[in-house]
């Protein structure tokens, strides 16, 4: 236990910290803020110390002994890699929060849920079994609900969507509490699928433990064989993936994330960079290999991994296309996240389809790392921009570069990484994904990914152009006239996003040096002989590599140039009369509206129908008629209880008048006498048994 305690404390510290926050808040608000950041700092340090000192292993304690379910922390390269990203990125966001959220409403609640969020994320990363993981999984969902809806009084300034936004008659404006609910319920749909899968696995495996699940794949009577016998193995795997689809906002459950922008920018950064949406990628990374082994025994690998890859590629394109027309800066970033997660899913999917599993697998995880860094930076910078311009709309910004050089530089650096321009980290990791798709022979997927790269270049430059370049908008000028000049953030807020942006460049420059060792490290997660992955060395010439690199860079740059020509040169104005393509994209392919109509309006209408026609129309009518008869019969007055009892007594009386008289005497009074007589009766009965008959 001794050293493994470090690993346990990684996730326990922020959770305990969250619980302590309301108490610490009683001392002083400043102490509370510092303590909250402190808990995350401890978690981050512990995560690194664990990686350096604790040997890989599954450290368990008893949890539900009657079912031999243990709780445990699984220390292996995958979980440590992830835990370190989560904890350190979270720390940066927490530091930023101190300044950014200063003086906001509900800060104790804010810190509580932030630490709870981080703790739950670390729990889900480090858990050694599915049940415990699910605690963290749902905890993350809960915290996102609470933080997206942080401004629960729903003031207009915290909404997302432009006034009057509608698709198919459904309003596309979202208040904080509505977005919170939407996020919770939509991800919950994915979780239902995940749960079904867990139930099916447990029904045969009788364990939730990851290692045990892999070990038990060996025999003929393994859980996988049993599921396959019922034709349920592939469905189980696919349903499992439902969870990640919801959490990581992949098609068809991607619609919650854009509206989740009602939370503070720091929350968005946390959700997009460190927690929540990365959970799905991580879980796919955790169980993907297990399903690979299980499915490979029954030749069903391509079906499962094909679905992952296609969903990823399609989502990447879908969301990128929406980012290209978005009006709100945070929405651009949100669509962009959905799209980038799509890349990661594509990589994890392609892993199972190609001749080298680990190549795709690590590409996906590497992209997770680089995305965490540049997206956190972009969100935090955008948070400052929102604050300075007092608007969420890009067309109300403009020309910020002059007054905010460092912020603009930071956004530019992170933006270049998002576009995938060499030598930023986003370039290497995105290119790795494109390469494995191409070399794995998945040319259509490669094409989709390439198209996404083009649009990514376009929307990134568009966002930078509208907000930073050109002349200040009318709104911005009005602000300046009223004495509110755009200015840089304070040191404690500027440094987090600036450092992350520079870090993204640094990670890119160093990529050739660390990518090899890190790949080996992550691959060592699967050193067990049970993992039989295809590991053919994909033979490529340097020329092919170079060609692929050039193509992806060229495509991204071309997208960027189109964006530059359209948005750096001209002043952007938001117009409600869009051309059909723009409108289609702006209205989110109408998916959100259709979902709303079917799953919200539809279910409510069906429920209302049931209520009117079945509950009231049939059951209540029958019941009322029945009750009315009895009431009429007993000529109910306000003394109804006596009346009914009297009636009953009369009924009995017709069978024997003596009994009737006795009952009448007993029950002629009000309820009180009745009750007391009743009680005395029981007392006498019990006394008789106790003292006369005696205990046996």
């Amino acid at each position: 236990m001794a050293t493994s305690l470090l690993a346990w404390l990684i996730w326990i510290t922020p959770l305990v910290g969250a619980l302590l926050t309301p108490l610490i808040a009683k001392i002083h608000s400043r102490v509370r803020d510092i303590a909250a950041v402190g808990f995350t700092l401890v978690a981050a340090v512990l995560a690194t110390m664990t990686a350096l000192t604790v040997s890989a292993g599954d450290y368990t304690v008893a949890w539900i002994p009657s079912l031999t379910i243990t709780a445990g922390v699984l220390v292996d390269p995958l979980s440590l890699f992830m835990a370190n990203i989560v904890a350190w990125i979270s720390l940066v966001i927490m530091i930023y929060s101190v300044g950014y959220m200063k003086g906001e409403f509900g800060m104790t609640r804010y810190w509580f849920f932030m630490n709870l969020f981080i703790g739950n994320m670390l729990l889900l990363v480090l858990a050694d079994n599915l049940l415990m993981m699910f605690f963290g999984w749902e905890g993350v969902g809960l915290c996102s609900y609470a933080l997206i809806g942080h401004f629960y009084r729903d003031e207009a300034q915290y909404w997302v969507g432009s006034p009057g936004d509608k698709a198919l008659g459904v309003s596309e404006e979202y208040s904080p509490t509505k977005s919170g609910m939407k996020a919770f319920i939509m991800t919950r749909i994915g979780d239902v699928a995940l749960l079904i899968s867990i139930f099916l696995i447990y029904a045969f495996a009788r364990t939730f433990n990851y290692n045990q699940l892999v070990i038990e794949l060996g025999g003929a009577g393994s859980w996988a064989a049993n599921l396959a016998r019922l034709g349920l193995l592939l469905p189980t795997a696919l349903l499992f993936f439902g969870g990640p689809i919801g959490k990581s906002a992949q098609f068809p459950l991607q619609e919650w994330l854009p509206d989740a922008m009602t939370g503070p920018a720091s929350v968005s950064a946390l959700i997009h960079a460190a927690t929540m949406v990365k959970a799905g990628v991580f879980l796919t990374g955790r169980m993907g290999p297990v399903f690979f082994i299980a499915l490979s025994q029954f030749n069903q690998v391509p079906q499962f991994f094909g679905v992952i890859a296609w969903i990823g590629a399609f989502t990447a394109l879908l969301a990128a296309s929406q980012a290209a027309v978005a009006r709100e800066i945070k929405k651009v970033l949100a669509y962009s996240t959905v799209s980038q997660i799509g890349y990661m899913m594509l990589a994890l999917g392609v892993a199972g389809l190609s001749a080298n599993f680990l190549a795709g697998y690590t590409a996906g995880l590497f992209h997770l790392l680089s995305h965490a860094v540049f997206k956190a930076s972009l969100f935090l910078a955008a948070g400052w921009v929102l604050h300075v311009t007092e608007s969420r709309f890009m067309d109300e910004m403009g020309g910020l570069a002059r007054a905010m050089r460092l912020t603009s530089a930071s956004m530019l650096l992170a933006g270049l990484s998002l576009m995938g321009i060499p030598p930023f980290s986003g370039f290497w990791t995105k290119d790795a994904i494109l390469s494995v798709s191409f070399l794995g022979g998945q040319y259509i997927l490669y094409g989709l990914a390439l198209a996404t790269a083009f649009i990514t270049g376009f929307y990134t430059v568009r966002m930078l152009g509208i907000t930073l370049a050109g002349k200040p908008s009318k709104h911005a000028e009005d602000l300046t006239e009223s004495g509110k000049h755009p200015h840089e953030a304070g040191f404690m807020m500027l440094m987090p996003y600036l450092l992350l942006a520079v870090g993204s460049l640094g990670l890119g420059l160093a990529y050739p040096f660390y990518s090899g060792p890190l790949t080996t490290y992550i691959a060592s997660t699967f050193s067990s002989a049970l993992y039989k992955f295809p590991a053919a060395t994909i033979s490529t010439s340097g020329l092919t590599d170079l060609l692929l690199l050039s193509v992806s860079t060229l495509v991204a740059v071309t997208g960027g140039i189109v964006g530059y020509l359209l948005y750096f040169k001209k002043t952007y104005e938001f117009k409600t009369d869009m051309n059909p393509i723009q409108r289609f994209l702006y209205k989110r392919w109408y998916l959100d509206a259709i979902y709303y109509k079917v799953f919200v309006s539809g279910i409510l209408a069906a429920s209302r129908g049931l209520f009117t026609y079945v509950e009231q129309g049939i059951w209540n009518r029958l019941n009322n008629a029945f009750a009315q008869d009895i009431m009429d019969y007993s000529k109910a007055s306000d003394q109804l209880d006596t009346q009914v009892v009297d009636r009953a007594a009369n009924e009995v009386a017709s069978y024997g008048s003596r009994l009737s008289n006795f009952l009448r005497k007993l029950q002629s009074g009000v309820t009180e006498q009745y009750v007391i007589a009743f009680a005395i009766g029981i007392i006498l009965l019990l006394a008789y048994m106790l003292f006369v008959v005696g205990a046996t």
Binding site: W63, S66, G149, Y152, I189, D638, L640, T671, V675, V693
Partner: protein, 501 residues
């Protein structure tokens, strides 16, 4: 022989005259005495459960001769202890909640307080007795004792058309109980015994005492009685109005403690005495439970009255209980009884919250007229949040683990029997849980979030007699949600004894 368990009956019984007399002086403060007195059964029962040793771990019984009927016995064991824990906890806590609530409902008439608390104590007695009973006739007796005071409590202090509503409640449950009695009497007549142990012994020795067909009839009759109590779809008509129009403390006990006893009794009596016959019905029950779950949730979604919303939610939650039982394996049955506990804490919290809101917002219980209460009533809002999450089955609340294991039971039944029907039912059931999240979060949003309106602008936090029960129940919810073993371990061993592993 120590009088531990009979003490759990005698104390509330003796409490009736005590409370009645004290109320003349103490008025609403009688609730504090009631709280203290009703804690005693909880303590004696917990103490009694510690008495059993070795193979009787957790089991303890007292038998009193009741010739010629049999024994008038009380038993606490792994199955009943969790149920009794919730009943004891809720009846005492709700006594506190009654203090401010009934003050507002009754006003200044001392006699009325006496009546209220006497009926309340009798009601508690009925529930404890029902769960402790070892004899079928004794069980029936307590089952009816449970009904009578609750009927009066609704009729006297209910809202709206309280006469009609309480009468409907009485007649439905009473008819259910009579049908149950038929089942009990036939069983007793044919096996020549009324003590459950003897009945089981006789049936094991001579299975021919009751033919398979007749067993099905008996099970149908008994289940009818119990399912009326838990308000399964079609037998639920009495329930929404009764819960909605009863005074909030009584609604709390009805929904959180009493209803689920129907589920407990199904395990204790039907599944223990006639396991095979129950199994015959179980596929049908699973379907029925699914309809109840979905129907209850759908009705809850469209209610504007919070209490009615919670009432329909109770119907839905009781569907989960039956679903677990219908799985007929240790996961399902233990999960289902654990669900009684979760429902007890969740509904306990939520009905008290509604009471608190009604108390602080001038009797308002319409969702569309509330809003923005989170900053006005932070403790109540937090408790409501925890209660809603328990209802929605979120991890770290006991609602998650209970639903998890009862659904696990459903899936194990489906895969064990390779039954597509069972699989579909289980899948649909778990999809329906998304509806629960929907209505509980929607209610949270409408009551607590948004900007305060003119009705809610000057609202204050509820008094400690309300927040203390809320905090206690929230803690129980979270502790059991993280470390379920004290409850789940017992229920599993009880369930394994009844339905095998």
């Amino acid at each position: 022989m120590t009088l531990l368990l009979i003490g759990a009956i005698i104390v509330p019984l003796m409490a009736i005259p005590i409370l009645y007399t004290l109320a003349r002086r103490l008025k609403e403060k009688t609730g504090f005495v009631s709280f203290a007195l009703l804690l005693i059964p909880l303590v004696t029962i917990l103490y009694a459960a510690l008495q059993g040793t070795g193979s009787n771990q957790g089991t303890y019984q007292e038998l009193y001769s009741w010739s010629p009927i049999g024994n008038f016995g009380f038993r606490v064991d792994n199955l009943s202890l969790p149920i009794l824990f919730i009943i004891g906890l809720l009846t005492s806590l709700v006594s506190l909640f009654s203090v401010p609530y009934m003050r507002q409902r009754i006003g200044d008439d001392p006699g009325r307080y006496g009546l209220y608390y006497s009926l309340y104590a009798l009601y508690s007695l009925g529930m404890i007795g029902t769960v402790l009973a070892t004899n079928l006739i004794e069980f029936y007796l307590f089952f009816e004792i449970m009904l009578v005071p609750s009927f009066f409590l609704i009729a006297e202090w209910g809202y709206g058309e309280k006469e009609r509503i309480s009468l409907t409640y009485f007649i439905w449950t009473h008819v259910g109980a009579l049908v149950l009695l038929v089942g009990i009497l036939v069983t007793a007549f044919l096996t020549g015994a009324t003590d459950m142990d003897v009945v089981i012994g006789n049936l094991t020795a001579t299975p021919g005492l009751i033919s398979t067909t007749l067993r099905l009839g008996i099970v149908a009759a008994m289940c009818f009685g119990f399912f009326v109590k838990i308000g399964q779809f079609g037998l639920h008509v009495w329930l929404p109005s009764a819960y909605a129009e009863a005074p909030a403390p009584v609604s709390t006990i009805l929904a959180a403690a009493m209803t689920g006893i129907g589920g407990y009794a199904t395990v204790r009596i039907v599944m223990t005495i006639f396991p095979q016959s129950f199994l015959t019905f179980s596929a049908f029950f699973a379907g029925w439970a699914l309809i109840t779950m979905i129907y209850g949730s759908a009705m809850a979604l469209v209610q504007d009255d919070i209490k009615r919303l919670l009432a329909y939610s109770s119907i839905s939650q009781m569907g989960y209980i039956l679903f677990g039982l219908a799985a007929f394996n240790s996961f399902g049955v233990s999960g289902s009884m654990f669900q009684y506990v979760s429902n007890g804490t969740a509904k306990g919290i939520l009905f008290i919250v509604v009471g608190a809101v009604m108390l602080q917002v001038r009797g308002e219980r319409s969702l569309s007229k509330l809003g923005g209460l989170a900053s006005k009533m932070p403790i109540t809002a937090t408790a409501a949040f925890i209660g809603s999450l328990t209802l929605a089955g979120l991890p770290s609340t006991n609602g998650f683990l209970s639903e998890f294991f009862l659904f696990q039971g459903g899936f194990v039944r489906a895969t064990d029997t390779a039954s597509e029907y069972r699989l579909v039912i289980a899948v649909l059931g778990i999809i329906a849980t998304a509806l629960t999240a929907g209505y509980s979060l929607m209610a949270m949003k409408k009551i607590f979030f948004g900007a305060p309106n003119s009705d809610t602008a000057d609202v204050k936090e509820a008094p400690w007699t309300i927040t203390l029960p809320l905090i206690t129940l929230s803690i129980v919810t979270l502790v059991l949600g993280i470390y379920p073993e004290p409850i789940l371990g017992r229920l599993l061993s009880a369930a394994r004894a009844i339905v095998g592993s």
